[in-house]
Amino acid sequence: MLTQALLIALLAGLAGIDLYVGLTHFHRPVVLGGLVGLIMGDFTTGLITGGTLELIWMGMVPLAGAQPPNVVIGGIIGTAFAIITRQDPKTAVGIAIPFAIAVQGLITLLFTLFSPMMQKVDAFAKAGNYKGIEKINYFGATNYFLVSAIVAFLPIYFGSGAASHIVSAVPQWVLSGLSVAGGIMPAIGFAILLKIMLKKEYIMFFIVGFVLVAYLNMTTLAIALIGLAIALYDYHVNKNKTENYKNIANGDEMADGI
């Protein structure tokens, strides 16, 4: 069990880094599932569980700094428990959710606690000490590794017995409540994006996107294409306008463009 737990911890640590650094996205459940399966000795179950988790957690990505429930821990622990307890993947998700939300909290805390480090960066910059700045970055990446590795290690090491004991001690409504909260969580990321991007003069595009998906179930790619078409049209309308102003100002004739 120790070897497995250590391997899982290593995997979790690396995936924890990849979530912010590197971003090859091997940290998504669809990839981690199979890897956890390999370590735990049941590749196929791992693969299937990872795929299942992926489909549920598709919208969970860090947007503008807002952290959704942590998919690395969710994916690893969910898959590991699915293999250990031989439960159906959907149930495994239930067990993984509290961990995913706990790590979401931890990472958010980490990002807050790391803020004072910026004083150090300022000092190094003033002194031209670029090596110092580089070290701060390596230190940050190490934190990601540690948080993920430790959180993944403990439940695996103390085994399915202890874990399922704890989990079964938790009332059912807490588990399903966390699962509900996890589903709602992407709203926060979108709200932050809106805070950055939404100006009064852009509301109409937001409405169009919402209506097309809510009523017509269009996919994201379709919406992006529609948005692109609108943006291109808008660009040409505005560009021609500007060119014409210039022409008028210069006393030229109307531009051919319009």
Binding site: I48, G51, A64, S115, I188, D234
Partner: protein
């Protein structure tokens, strides 16, 4: 927008250009952009990390180099797949020893739109598509699932990271002023695409359903399907997102929003409403 005491470089000579190889190294370093992420300056130190070798080459004068390091340790946040475009543009300007204000203005003008558009296009469009295909293979036990996903996703990912640095550098050298003039348009266009997509994503990805069934005598009405969906599909996800947005504008921090959301989820499950 200008700092109070405008700094001018002591060494005003234009620096030698960066080679393709040097640019590729910067692109590689940019993978560390979020290594020191924090809520005060977000990617500031990571940004600095990415461009250090170039700054060292451009500013042989020590004062200029220190000054430049300081300037670039300001708040910074953008999408990590698009950051190399900004790196390219900014270094082209540094190289020409352009005014600190111009450089900072370009940096700020670019980071916001590119952040939103990148999130929308890479994390919320590319990722669901490629991971969706991968997952639908994986759930059938097909090992091609994760492989197809990783390949498809990273061809675009690394294509963007290693491609855009050259595009940005080329643009920056040739036409910084032109870029600034068209920034308004680019930013507007990016906002249009981004907001259209975000509007759709709320309906697609925020999963907030009322499971409560309203019973009166023999009648059972499913509140979600029978009432809410009839008013407007995805009404609650939209309302909740707008509530979060409003609270953010009121000054709430994301952490509190997360806590609130967890509490709502727990209450919902406890009461059987959600």
């Amino acid at each position: 927008m200008a700092s109070n005491v405008p700094y001018t470089f002591e060494n005003q000579t234009e620096a030698a250009g960066l080679s393709r190889h040097e640019l590729n190294i910067l692109a590689f370093r940019s993978l560390m952009l979020q290594a020191s992420f924090n809520y005060e300056r977000m990617q500031a130190a990571g940004w600095l990390y990415s461009i250090i070798p170039a700054l060292r080459k451009i500013h042989k004068n020590k004062h200029d180099f220190n000054r430049s390091l300081q300037d670039h340790s300001e708040f910074f946040n953008t999408h990590p797949f698009l950051v190399t475009f900004i790196i390219g543009v900014v270094l082209a300007m540094e190289e020409k020893k352009m005014s600190r204000d111009a450089i900072r203005a370009i940096k700020i003008a670019l980071m916001g739109p590119l952040g939103g558009i990148g999130d929308a296009l890479f994390f919320l469009t590319l990722l669901p598509i490629t991971a969706g295909i991968g997952a639908s293979l994986a759930v059938q036990g097909n090992i091609a699932g994760p492989i197809v996903f990783l390949l498809a996703f990273n061809v675009v990912h690394f294509g963007a990271v290693f491609g855009l640095i050259h595009v940005g550098y080329g643009t920056g050298v040739k036409a910084v002023t032109k870029l600034k003039a068209s920034m308004k348009y680019i930013s507007r266009g990016a906002s249009i695409v981004g907001l259209t997509v975000v509007g759709g994503l709320i309906a697609a990805f925020v999963n907030f359903k009322i499971t409560y069934v309203w019973s009166m005598g023999k009648t059972n009405i499913k509140v979600q399907e029978g009432i809410l969906d009839k008013i407007m599909p995805a009404m609650i996800p939209l309302a909740y997102t707008l509530l979060m947005y409003w609270l953010l504008k009121k000054g709430w921090s994301p952490i509190w929003l997360i806590v609130t959301t967890v509490v709502i989820g727990l209450l919902g499950a406890l009461s059987g409403v959600m």
